[in-house]
Amino acid sequence: ELKVEQNPLFLSMQEGKNYTIYCNYSTTSDRLYWYRQDPGKSLESLFVLLSNGAVKQEGRLMASLDTKARLSTLHITAAVHDLSATYFCAVARASGSRLTFGEGTQLTVNP
C-alpha cells in the first residue's frame, strides 16, 4: 500500500523567512504533484514533477523530486501572508491514475 507522509503538518512562520515542507512516499512512483488549498476552497494544482531530479519554480515556491530517496520538497522563499494555505503532496503509483494524498501541511505566514 502506498503511503505518503508530509512534515511538518503545521507550520507557522514569519514573513520574509524561508522554510521547506517535506513529502515522503513509500513505494515506486513516476510522478508527484503539489496542490494548494485555501480554507473552504478547492485544490489548486501547483506543480507536477515527472522525473528524478525535476525542479520547478513558481514565484516564491520551488518543488523538487528525488525518486531514489522517495522524497519531494516544497521550498518557500521569503514567505508572504498570501502563501498561507494548506499544501498537499500527492503521489501516483507507477503507470496508474490513482493519487494518494499526504495529510497536508497547514502553513500560516504571520506579518
Binding site: 478547492s42 489548486e44 494544482s45 500527492a90 491514475s97 493519487l99 494518494t100
Partner: protein, 117 residues
C-alpha cells in the same frame, strides 16, 4: 476558462435521504475522479472513470454509494440512504491521459459540501 463544475455546492439533508451530486469535467478530459475530504480522514479517492468506464471504485462503500458517468459531460455520485458519517466535502476532478501513458495533473472542482443531519 475551462474548469470542473459541481452541483450543488452545498447540501443539507436528513439521514436516510438520497443525495445526488453532479460533476461536469473539463471538455476533452477523459478521466474523472471522485474524492471525499474530511478532517479525520483527509482526502480519499472514492472512484474514478476513464472514457466513462469505471476503473476503480474500491474506496467507495458499495452498499450505499454509486457512481456513474452517463455521458462524457456528466458524472454523478449518489448516496442512498445517506448517514451522518457521510458528511464531508466531495470533490470531483478531471484529467487527461497524455500519449505515452503519462498523465496530466488532475483539476479539481469547487466541491459539494454535504451535511447529513
Amino acid at each position: 476558462d475551462a474548469r470542473v463544475t459541481q452541483t450543488p455546492r452545498h447540501k443539507v439533508t436528513e439521514m436516510g435521504q438520497e443525495v445526488t451530486m453532479r460533476c461536469q469535467p473539463i471538455l476533452g478530459h477523459n478521466t474523472v475522479f471522485w474524492y471525499r475530504q474530511t478532517m479525520m480522514q483527509g482526502l480519499e479517492l472514492l472512484a474514478y472513470f476513464r472514457n466513462r468506464a469505471p476503473l476503480d471504485d474500491s474506496g467507495m462503500p458499495k452498499d450505499r454509494f454509486s457512481a456513474e458517468m452517463p455521458d462524457a459531460t456528466l458524472a454523478t455520485l449518489k448516496i442512498q440512504p445517506s448517514e451522518p458519517r457521510d458528511s464531508a466535502v466531495y470533490f470531483c476532478a478531471s484529467g487527461s491521459r497524455l500519449a505515452g501513458g503519462l498523465y496530466n495533473e488532475q483539476f479539481f472542482g469547487p466541491g459539494t459540501r454535504l451535511t447529513v443531519l
